[in-house]
């Protein structure tokens, strides 16, 4: 960290300790969230999410695949995330960083564990099934990529249309059937800064964060969690944050449902 970054980080820690945030939010307030779906016509489903100044784009492609030998009765869903070099000055080209891999795997785990798409529904015929590839592109970084990416991936899946399966291959000109959705998973990410905890950390807040906890829920049960960074949480804090994440799920449902196609 350079001198300016250290001063900024110290400033964030100071005001958070007083219960304030840089942008005037309360501890458990999200920034403004905007979801636009069907932004890429060629994708079977797509969504762009703005969470404050963080912007991510998710595109879902649905392809005919051979089934896996250990799961011959179902299809597959594969979610990836990429930190594009155009999204922040610090991002570089090259192989994915551990941070990018963690982001992709955490988003994938939440949506997979939530059985958002019933994988049995993706079965086509003996040996063949749909695979849904969801790629999340981070276009502009300002913190909390976990929640923005999960929301974008989920919105893209929730609005996806299946190609028609004909003679062993997909007809992409006929995508009249909606992909059936089983549940909606949303994640809430918390940043512990000193002894305070805030939701939806901005980029500047993340730079000052000691410990991070992401909780993905389907509104009823916890579907995935990931603690990150070198700080710690107490058992009570985890329980409390899980309660908040379960509550916040309602807000995310609204965002996904109000996103017009």
């Amino acid at each position: 960290m350079g001198a300016i970054e250290i001063i900024k980080s110290d400033y964030i820690r100071e005001i958070i300790a007083k219960g304030e945030r840089e942008d005037g939010r309360k501890a458990m307030d999200y920034r403004n969230i905007a979801v636009k779906t069907d932004v890429i016509d060629h994708a079977e489903g797509s969504a762009q999410v703005d969470m404050g100044n963080t912007r991510v784009l998710a595109g879902a492609k649905i392809v005919v695949d051979d089934v896996h030998s250990d799961t011959p009765d179902q299809g597959n869903i594969v979610i990836s995330a990429e930190l594009l070099p155009l999204a922040a000055a610090e991002y570089e080209t090259g192989p994915p960083s551990p941070e990018a891999i963690e982001l992709a795997r955490v988003v994938d785990r939440g949506i997979r564990a939530g059985n958002c798409v019933k994988l049995e529904d993706l079965f086509l015929e003996e040996g063949k099934a749909w695979t849904i590839y969801v790629d999340v592109y981070v276009l502009n970084y300002d913190g909390n990529l976990f929640d923005a990416s999960t929301l974008a991936a989920m919105a893209a899946i929730a609005n996806a249309r299946l190609p028609t399966y004909k003679d062993g291959s997909a007809d992409y000109n006929d995508r009249s059937k909606k992909l059936e959705i089983n549940s909606i998973v949303a994640s809430s990410t918390f940043a512990k800064i000193g002894n305070s905890i805030v939701i939806d950390p901005s980029g500047a807040e993340e730079a000052a964060t000691d410990a991070r906890l992401t909780v993905a829920t389907d509104g009823k049960v916890v579907r995935a969690m990931q603690k990150g960074l070198s700080g710690s949480f107490t058992l009570n804090e985890v329980e409390e944050l899980v309660n908040i994440a379960l509550e916040k799920h309602k807000e995310f449902i609204k965002h996904i449902e109000s996103a017009k196609r």
Binding site: I101, R105, V222, R223, A224, S232
Partner: protein, 241 residues
């Protein structure tokens, strides 16, 4: 999670497939100081898991741009041997899963090591999974903590890790591979036992609030047993001298 087609009955007559009760750990053995060249090392057997952990450093951070002038940096590599699994030959070298585990493991030890005492240096933690049977990241962290202590690296606590999970309606401790493949939730945790602070927490599957609490309490409870095996391994080095 594997297909439900071939799902075995994981609990029979209130016991798990390997005969354990819900809150019971698999047998755990640790031996410290097993490698000559490393500053510290540990060999761990936990159920059918076989894990080797080694620590090198503190030494000058290389390449130089990775150095932090204010504190030591930790470099951690978790890796699974290609022969470690019961099934096919694994691919050698770290895959995406291993890179994620290496990252969260590194973050666990950044919490407990007094990094400020070694500015500009690096501490390397190598975790090799020689045989895997579920819960290898927890086994790796538990072994690495012993290896770090064996290396004489100052830490504020001796960390342990173990996972809780859910099989049907039952919350269980220390999930093995067959349970993990078909279980309804898996939640690895690493704990700093002096304060019971959580240094690693991952989870996937489904847990309601009550099950989450029950799982976390099981992990805390298991700490007494695991910590004792860790401390005994370190004590044994001096006894054998």
């Amino acid at each position: 999670m594997a297909s439900s087609l071939n799902k075995p009955e994981l609990i029979v007559n209130g016991k798990r497939l390997d005969g354990r009760s819900f809150g019971e750990l698999r047998p755990l053995k640790i031996e410290a100081n097993v490698l000559k060249n490393a500053q510290g090392s540990a060999y761990l057997e936990w159920g059918n898991n076989r894990v080797l952990a080694a620590v090198y450093g503190p030494k000058e951070a290389m390449p130089k741009h990775t150095a932090d002038p204010t504190k030591a940096v930790i470099k951690c590599r978790y890796s699974m041997a290609p022969f470690s699994g019961l099934g096919e030959h694994g691919r050698s070298g770290p895959n995406r899963r291993a890179i994620e585990i290496s990252k969260v493991t590194k973050e666990v030890f950044e919490n407990v090591i007094f990094l400020n005492e070694f500015p500009g240096s690096e501490i390397d933690i190598f975790i090799e999974i020689l045989q895997s049977d579920g819960g290898t990241r927890a086994a790796g962290i538990t072994a690495a903590a012993v290896a770090l202590a064996n290396a004489g690296i100052k830490m504020k606590d001796l960390v342990y890790a173990v996972s809780a999970g859910r099989i049907g309606e039952h919350v269980v401790l220390d999930v093995n591979m067959i349970e993990d493949n078909y279980s309804d939730a898996d939640m690895p945790m690493a704990i700093s036992p002096k304060s019971n602070e959580i240094l690693l927490l991952q989870m996937d599957g489904g847990l309601d609030k009550k099950q989450l609490k029950e799982g976390m309490d099981m992990v805390i409870d298991a700490g007494k047993t695991i910590s004792k095996v860790q401390r005994d391994a370190l004590k044994a080095i001096y006894e054998s001298r």
